[in-house]
Each structure stands twice: as structure tokens, then as C-alpha cells.
């Protein structure tokens, strides 16, 4: 390509960029997506918890909008258990005296917040709880003579915890890494294969088109679950196979859409003119045909991304792709939906994040489509 063409096309992209930046909804959508992406990337520095840390004693707790005010105390029966708990815990830890009189003395005058939990003594299988306030503690059951107590200072859970006591906010951040990456990569795969395949089939038409489209039909006819199970059998379970599996299925519809577009574009006289001018076929496809399919392609892409994210959840459920304790938005929603009645926040928050992402994608997609359409007037 000559410099002149390069200069021109750069101006095309610059024009598109200017048009895009004037579209407020698209800008907001883009900003939201960028923020979500950055938050997910920086998850270890943002959240004090790790996504895999369980806190069985805590269980599912609702969202606590206060931050850094609440503390938790676990009393354990043995030194060993105390250490186990302490090891899995990243908050500050005070080991309290085992003797209850000693305990009284230690707690006295210190602010431990309002709610504190104290766990069981040796031989006592039931957990027991008590509330410690700055005035003292109020045992719900009698505290045994000798027990190890350990005071865990926690920072609370912004969006609550799941049944295993894992911090939901942290899990959403880490899940975002998977979901956004799947959305991006699998869609990119389906976009590339779908657009090229569809464009070639549509452009050459006739027998080539017949063959290529029958191939697509065959893939369509293959039950997705079986296809995926086949893949899991043949390949290792890892995230890249996940992209492969999703990409391999999602491009089918894209290729049909593009083919339809190309079939009608091919009859347009500018394509015939290009042939008459001796422009090579690959160049006609890349330069004259594909750019003119952009509108529907962009719209379909923004529709593909959520589908891909939910597919990922389904695949993970089957055992291909993300494995616990790692999670993704799709998985979080799937898990949350099972306990919707008891712990609604477990579905609500990941659902809201996914919805927010999709809204942003749609606005951004619409903005992109308009920005790339040179026919939209310049003012």
C-alpha cells in the first residue's frame, strides 16, 4: 500500500474516532468496560482477600456496606485448629488467652466492634457464639475452662460472602478476568473465522459456497454438548481449549450473516467495477466487501459476547474450562441462581456486573457502527 492510502485510511480511522468520541453513550460504555477490565486485572491489589480462601465458619453473609469496621473472633478448641484458621486468614490475628478470666481481662477496654464470634471449646461439637462488645463479652453458652481463642480482625465483606465464606467481591473481580478474556478471545476467534469464511463463501458463490455452507450446516447439526465432551476427551482441560471450543461454535452464525451480506454486495456494481479494473480477488474481498459488512457484523458481535460468557459457564460446569476455586461471572450467576431464595446477593451482584457489561457493550457497539459508517453526515 502506498503512503497516500495509508494517510487516507488513517484519516478514516481518525474521523471514526472523532465521531465515536462525540457519542456520549458510547464513551460511557467504553469507560465502564475499561474500568471493569482494569479492576479485574488489578484484583490482587484491590481486594484484601483471595478468591479461594474459604471461611466455613462464616458461611454466607450478606453484603456489608461498611468497610474495615467489623472484626471477627474465632475461638478454637485446639492450638492446632487455631493455627489452621490463622494460616488461611489474611487479616490481623490476635491469639487470645485460653483462660476465660484472662480473656475477660484482655478484651476489656478494647474496641472489637459490635459482632464477634467465638467458636467451640474442646469436646464440644457445636459451635457457640458470643457477642463481645467493649464492655465485655456475653457468652451464649458457657465457655469451657481451657480453650484457645483467636481473634481475627477482618475488614468485612462489601458484597457479602458465599456459602463457603469466600468474599464475593473478590470472586467477581477474579471472575471478570476469565469472563472478559473469554468474551474477548472467543469473540475474536469467531469474528475472524466467521467473517473470512462467510466472505469467501459469499464472494465465490456457486459450488464453493455450496460446499462451505454445507460444512457449516454439519457443524450446526452437531449437538454442542457432544462436541464439547469430545473436545474435553481429546484435549487437556485448560482455558485455551475453552476459547477454541466456543470460538469453533460461535463463528457459524457470523459466517452465515456475512455470507448473506456479501451475496448482496457482490451484485453491487462497484464490485464488478473492481473486477473490471483488474483488482485481485483477495483485495476486493478485504477492501471492498468486508468493510461494507461492518454494520451487521458489529451488531452481531455485541450480541455474541454475552452468549459466549454464558457458554463459558456451561462449559465450566461440564468440566472444560474454569475449575473451582477459580470462577467466572457465568459460574457465579449459575451458582447464585441455585440459592437465589436464601442468599439473593450471590446471584444479584454478578448478574448486575454482567448486565452492566452488556449494556456498555451495546452502547459501544452502536457507537462504533455509526462511527465507522461514512454515510452518517459529518456534522
Amino acid at each position: 500500500m502506498s503512503e497516500m492510502n495509508a494517510q487516507n485510511s488513517s484519516s478514516l480511522w481518525r474521523d471514526a474516532w472523532i465521531r465515536l468520541s462525540r457519542n456520549r453513550m458510547a464513551v460511557v460504555g467504553g469507560a465502564v468496560l475499561l474500568t471493569l477490565g482494569l479492576l479485574s486485572l488489578c484484583a490482587p491489589w484491590i481486594s484484601p482477600y483471595r478468591y479461594e480462601t474459604q471461611n466455613l465458619e462464616l458461611g454466607a453473609t450478606g453484603p456489608q456496606l461498611t468497610w474495615d469496621t467489623q472484626q471477627l473472633v474465632y475461638g478454637t478448641c485446639t492450638q492446632q485448629r487455631a493455627q489452621v484458621l490463622a494460616a488461611g486468614y489474611e487479616g490481623e490475628i490476635d491469639v487470645l488467652p485460653a483462660d476465660s478470666t484472662e480473656l475477660h481481662r484482655t478484651i476489656e477496654g478494647q474496641d472489637y466492634g459490635r459482632t464477634l464470634w467465638v467458636a467451640s471449646a474442646p469436646g464440644n461439637t457445636n459451635l457457640m457464639a458470643m457477642v463481645i462488645t467493649s464492655e465485655g463479652f456475653d457468652p451464649l453458652e458457657e465457655i469451657p475452662e481451657r480453650a484457645n481463642f483467636i481473634l481475627l480482625k477482618s475488614r468485612g465483606h462489601l458484597l457479602g460472602t458465599d456459602e463457603l465464606g469466600r468474599d464475593l467481591f473478590t470472586r467477581i473481580l477474579y471472575g471478570g478476568r476469565i469472563s472478559l478474556m473469554v468474551g474477548l478471545c472467543a469473540t475474536a476467534v469467531s469474528l475472524t473465522i466467521g467473517v473470512l469464511f462467510g466472505a469467501v463463501a459469499g464472494f465465490f458463490g456457486g459450488r464453493v459456497d455450496d460446499l462451505m455452507m454445507r460444512f457449516v450446516d454439519i457443524l450446526y447439526a452437531l449437538p454442542f454438548t457432544i462436541f464439547v465432551i469430545l473436545l474435553t476427551v481429546i484435549f487437556d482441560r485448560n482455558i485455551w481449549n475453552l476459547f477454541l471450543a466456543i470460538g469453533a461454535v460461535e463463528w457459524l452464525t457470523m459466517s452465515r450473516i456475512v455470507r448473506g451480506q456479501v451475496l448482496s454486495l457482490r451484485k453491487q456494481e462497484f464490485v464488478e467495477a473492481a473486477i473490471a479494473l483488474g483488482i485481485p480477488q483477495w483485495r476486493i474481498v478485504l477492501r471492498h466487501i468486508i468493510p461494507n459488512c461492518l454494520g451487521p457484523v458489529i451488531v452481531y458481535t455485541t450480541l455474541t459476547i454475552p452468549v459466549v460468557m454464558l457458554l463459558e459457564a456451561f462449559l465450566s460446569f461440564l468440566g472444560l474450562g474454569v475449575q473451582p476455586p477459580m470462577s467466572s461471572w457465568g459460574l457465579l450467576i449459575r451458582d447464585g441462581s441455585k440459592v437465589l431464595e436464601e442468599f439473593p446477593w450471590l446471584m444479584l451482584f454478578p448478574g448486575m456486573v454482567l448486565a452492566l457489561t452488556l449494556f456498555s457493550l451495546n452502547f459501544l457497539g452502536d457507537g462504533l457502527r455509526d462511527a465507522l459508517d461514512v454515510r452518517v453526515s459529518k456534522d
Binding site: 462497484f270 464488478e272 467495477a273 479494473l277 483488474g278 483485495r283 477492501r287 471492498h288 468493510p291 456534522d379
Partner: protein
């Protein structure tokens, strides 16, 4: 007696880019039993006018800003929707331009014809059907009793337009509005439809508003004529006066810029030779150019260079292009459509061969087969002595530079996503002609050659009008400096004034560059203007081939004669005869 009186009608469109005065203060009246022709080019507001009367203007963006349209005692512009609905289709009926899209393809014709009857006249289905059959017979559909139960796709274009007319007339309307009813039809079919409308109008005494861009059609049919330009009626009067003694320079320009069979012009006058436009106080002013007459005289002096008939550039021998009918994947095809079936001709260097015929006669396929855009089934195409029929793309490459094509539709023949500069420089880049800088200079000079300014370079096709786009297409065809260009209905989609400009441009380029053309058109008068020799095609075969003057003056074949007879007659003698004979 005046029947429908329109006074000071104003319809404006409020768009984002400002107010478009589509119809700007026009007045006219339709007399009972007469035909009022409204003639104008695209964008002149002729369709908006009748749509305003029918309450069919989309509002917003459109708005009727003022005026009245009195029909009987009703003001159509002020009438409420219910009243309008009762009038529409009952007392005022309408025929649209495209018979292919104006009928619902999923409903039998019978259902569509009787629908207005059942809605407005409240009669039984059987009675309605009987009337519909009678009406179909009247509009010339044979075997109407059976045909009425067919679906629209079982009729040809002309037949469909007849059905549309039957549908419009079935409620015995007093006013019939025909919006370009023959524009989408072949010239022979157009002649039949015009004759039919004339007969029906005499027979039923219906008053007609006939909208068209074609003065020839007006001459065949109208009693009164209103000429519209840019939302205003610039001239109106009796049809004979308009043709015999036009007053307004725009009317004069319109009449002059149509290529006519009997004229011997080598260059066509254009509207701008007659009309000067300037803005005064924000208002558009039109004035006649003082030097119009000398201008026209000068034009007649221009002659074309002589042609050396022994120097043959293109020779086509026994060319056949057959398309398979409904090809199946395994079973091959069920039959063949012989689009081009054994035609032979040769084109001397620097001359123009006109290919004429009705739609479906194979003229377009011939043009494409010569350029190898469709693969010929058999036959030979010799270009400058080399055999190129069915050549592979690689082998064809050197010839791509030397032979080019210009298409009919200037809207679909430019890639909407490329700037004009990209469009024009791409072929040169692909053929590795010059450096980037050379190419840019070439693009600028090409634009100048086709009469466009160089600051258009960075614009996209949608920013241009149809005529400008066709100039860009011409520039693109010239980018590789070809010797030979196929013009495939290159001016068919254009207004007459723009058509004249593009035809002049093509002629001028031919003179300057010694180009050889194949000029494909359904319009015999245009071909007659352009071509030195011509071939009349029918059903994939050439029925008559020879010098174009000779063919026009003494057509040997019936088919050719029919084509020539079908051209609307717009000479004053004919109009005089028609008016005195009929009324």
C-alpha cells in the same frame, strides 16, 4: 369546470440540516375530464405535491405549511384523517411507479383488486369480483376470469401495471393520480400503457394528474402541463403552447436537452445553456442566458472525427452466454437460459456501437461477457487482435487496463466506504502505475477532465449527486487510460438534463482520446445520439445491425420498427394532431 384547485401549497421538510422547501407556494387546477401533466426532474417536488394532496407526507419531518386544495367542497389539506381515508381510493385513486413492489406478493390479485370496493362500496364479494373481472378486461388483460386468481408474480411488469390501474379505477374515482406509472417499464410496454390510459380516460371521463420526468410521455397524454423546478411551478399552460412556444428558460432547456430521433446534434444542449441561477436576498432567481441562441448554434457546428472502418478494435463472433436454471448441488442444471445466443459484430477503433433492446434481451450480458465479467459459454471475442473470451483472471490482467465499463446505477457502482481519491487511485496502485505522488496528480487531472473539482478528493460517494457520481465512475474507468469502454445503461437512471451533460462528456472524451464505445441502452433516442452503428437485440440474438441513421430511417425488421414507434412522440405536429383529433 375546475375540479381540483390547489392554491399556494407549501410543503416543507424540517431536517437536521435545515428546512427543505420541497414544494414552495404552487397553485394549479385540474379540470374535469382533462389530463394535467406535472413534469420535473428528481427533487423538483412533483411527487411531494401529490403526496401532500393525498395526506401521504410523513409528518414529521414533513409539514404542510400553508395553502389549500379544494376538491368539491372539501379542503384536502385541512380534512381530518377519516374523511381523507374515505376519499382516498374511492374518489381519488393513485397509481405508483413500480408495479413490482406496489402489489403484495402474498395475496392473490383478486383480493387486492376488490379490497377498495369492499372497503368503500360495501358490496358483496361476488359482486365485487364480477366488477373486478370487468375492469381487468377493460385494462386489457386477456382471460381475466381465470387470471384474476393469480398471484402478482405470475404477471409481467406491464401486466402488473395494468392490474394496478384496474385497482385504482375500480371504484370509479373522479380523480386519478399517476405517479410516474411508466418509468419502470420497457419502452414498448410504456407505449401500450399510455395508450391504455388514454383510452380509459376518454372512456370513463376521469380527470388525471400525471406525474413524470419525461416530456415525451407528457406530449402523448396531457392537456395541460405544469413544469416544476426546485419546488416551484416555473411554467404552466396548454400542452401545445409548452412544446411549441415555451417561455421559461428551464422549459426551453428541458425540451432541448432530450436527444431526439430527428435531430442531428452531435452535442446536446443542457439546461445550463439556457438558464442562469443566482441567489438574491436568499431567494433563488432564475434568468435566461442572453447568449443561449449563439451557444446552441455553435454546438451544431461540432462534428465528430471520421472513422476508419478497416481498423477493427473489437470483434465478437458467435458469442453465446447460457445461464443454468436452478442448479442443484449433485444433479446439475435443469435447463439453460440463453441470455446471449450467437451474436457477432465488430467495432472499429474510435467508433460507438449502440446495443438496444428491451429488458431481458441480453444486451447487458453481452457487455459483461466481452469484459469477461461473465464467462461466455462459447464464441470468440477478439480485442486488438488477441483472443480474450473466457481468459483466466491472470491472462486477462493486461487487458483490464485497456477495456473498461461504466454501469447504470451511480449509487451502487461506488464503494461507499472509500473516498473518491481512494476509489480513483486504487486501480493505478494495483497496476503499479507511477509513484503515490504521480497517482495523486493523475487523480486530480482525472477529476478535472470529467468536470469535477479537485477538493472533492477526500469526500465519500454519498456526498455527491447522481450525476456527479456518474462522472466519478467515468473518471474511474478512465484511470487506467483504456481504449475501449462499455457503457451499460450509463445514463438510464438520470434526469434528462444530467443525462445530456454525461452524454456530452462521453462524446467529448471520445473526441479527445479516440475512445471506442459500446453503448448499451433501452432508449433508442439516446443510442441514436451516441452511436455510429447499432445492433438491435431480441431474445439473445441480434435482429438488425447496421449504420444507426439507416436503421432509424429505414428499419428492416418489424421488431425494430415497433421499438421506434414506441418512442413517445413529442413533436409539435403530433401534439396538434392529437389534440384536434381527440377533442
Amino acid at each position: 369546470m375546475s375540479y381540483l384547485t390547489v392554491d399556494n401549497l407549501k410543503t416543507y421538510f424540517h431536517t437536521r440540516n435545515g428546512v427543505v422547501k420541497a414544494v414552495d407556494d404552487i397553485s394549479f387546477s385540474l379540470e374535469q375530464g382533462k389530463v394535467l401533466g406535472i413534469v420535473g426532474e428528481s427533487g423538483s417536488g412533483k411527487s411531494v405535491t401529490v403526496h401532500s394532496l393525498m395526506g401521504l407526507i410523513p409528518q414529521p419531518p414533513g409539514k404542510i405549511e400553508g395553502g389549500s386544495a379544494r376538491f368539491d367542497d372539501t379542503d384536502l389539506l385541512a380534512a381530518d384523517k377519516q374523511l381523507l381515508r374515505a376519499l382516498r381510493g374511492k374518489r381519488i385513486a393513485m397509481i405508483f411507479q413500480d408495479p413490482m413492489t406496489s402489489l403484495n406478493p402474498y395475496l392473490r390479485v383478486s383480493e387486492q383488486i376488490i379490497e377498495p370496493l369492499i372497503i368503500h362500496d360495501n358490496i358483496t364479494r361476488q359482486n365485487a369480483l364480477d366488477r373486478a373481472i370487468k375492469m381487468l378486461e377493460k385494462v386489457g388483460i386477456a382471460d381475466a376470469e381465470k387470471r384474476i386468481h393469480s398471484y402478482p408474480h405470475e404477471f409481467s411488469g406491464g401486466m402488473r401495471q395494468r392490474v394496478m390501474i384496474a385497482m385504482a379505477l375500480i371504484t370509479d374515482p373522479e380523480v386519478l393520480i399517476a405517479d410516474e406509472p411508466t418509468t419502470a417499464l420497457d419502452v414498448t410496454v410504456q407505449a401500450q400503457i399510455l395508450r391504455l390510459l388514454q383510452e380509459l380516460q376518454d372512456d370513463l371521463g376521469v380527470s388525471v394528474i400525471f406525474i413524470t420526468h419525461d416530456l415525451g410521455v407528457i406530449a402523448e397524454l396531457a392537456n395541460q402541463v405544469a413544469v416544476m423546478y426546485r419546488g416551484k411551478i416555473v411554467e404552466q399552460g396548454e400542452v401545445l403552447q409548452i412544446f411549441d412556444n415555451p417561455h421559461h428558460p428551464y422549459t426551453k432547456g428541458l425540451l432541448a436537452c432530450r436527444p431526439r430521433l430527428e435531430s442531428t446534434f452531435k452535442v446536446l444542449p443542457t439546461v445550463s445553456d439556457f438558464l442562469e441561477e443566482y441567489e438574491k436576498d436568499g431567494q433563488l432567481e432564475l434568468k435566461e442566458r442572453p447568449d443561449a441562441d449563439t451557444c446552441i448554434k455553435d454546438m451544431q457546428q461540432i462534428t465528430m472525427p471520421n472513422i476508419d472502418h478497416s481498423d477493427v478494435l473489437l470483434e465478437v463472433k458467435d458469442l453465446r452466454v447460457h445461464f443454468p436454471v436452478r442448479q442443484r448441488f449433485f444433479s446439475g442444471s435443469e435447463g439453460w437460459v440463453k441470455a446471449v445466443d450467437g451474436i457477432s459484430f465488430s467495432v472499429p477503433r474510435g467508433s460507438t456501437l449502440g446495443l438496444v433492446g428491451e429488458s431481458g434481451c441480453g444486451k447487458t450480458t453481452t457487455g459483461r461477457a466481452i469484459l469477461n465479467l461473465v464467462k461466455p459459454t462459447s464464441g470468440r471475442v477478439k480485442f486488438a487482435g488477441d483472443e480474450i473470451a473466457g481468459a483466466e483472471p491472470k491472462a486477462m490482467l493486461p487487458y483490464r487496463k485497456r477495456m473498461q465499463i461504466i454501469f447504470q446505477d451511480p449509487y451502487s457502482s461506488l464503494n461507499p466506504r472509500l473516498t473518491i481519491e481512494q476509489t480513483l487511485s486504487e486501480p493505478m496502485a494495483v497496476h503499479k502505475i507511477g509513484t503515490a505522488k504521480d497517482r495523486k496528480d493523475r487523480v486530480v487531472s482525472l477529476l478535472e477532465e470529467v468536470g469535477l473539482e479537485s477538493h472533492f478528493l477526500r469526500r465519500y460517494p454519498h456526498e455527491f449527486s447522481g450525476g456527479q457520481r456518474q462522472r466519478i465512475c467515468v473518471a474511474r474507468a478512465l484511470a487506467l487510460e483504456p481504449e475501449f469502454i462499455v457503457c451499460d445503461e450509463a445514463v438510464s437512471a438520470m434526469d434528462v438534463s444530467v443525462q445530456a451533460q454525461v452524454l456530452n462528456l462521453l462524446k467529448q472524451l471520445q473526441r479527445r482520446r479516440g475512445l471506442t464505445y459500446i453503448f448499451i441502452s433501452h432508449d433508442l433516442s439516446v443510442v441514436k445520439f451516441m452511436a455510429d452503428s447499432m445492433a438491435v437485440m431480441e431474445g439473445g440474438k441480434i435482429v438488425e445491425l447496421g449504420d444507426s441513421e439507416e436503421i432509424y430511417s429505414q428499419p428492416k425488421e418489424d421488431y425494430t420498427r415497433r421499438l421506434i414507434d414506441a418512442i413517445p412522440r413529442d413533436n409539435v405536429e403530433f401534439i396538434q394532431e392529437r389534440i384536434s383529433g381527440n377533442r
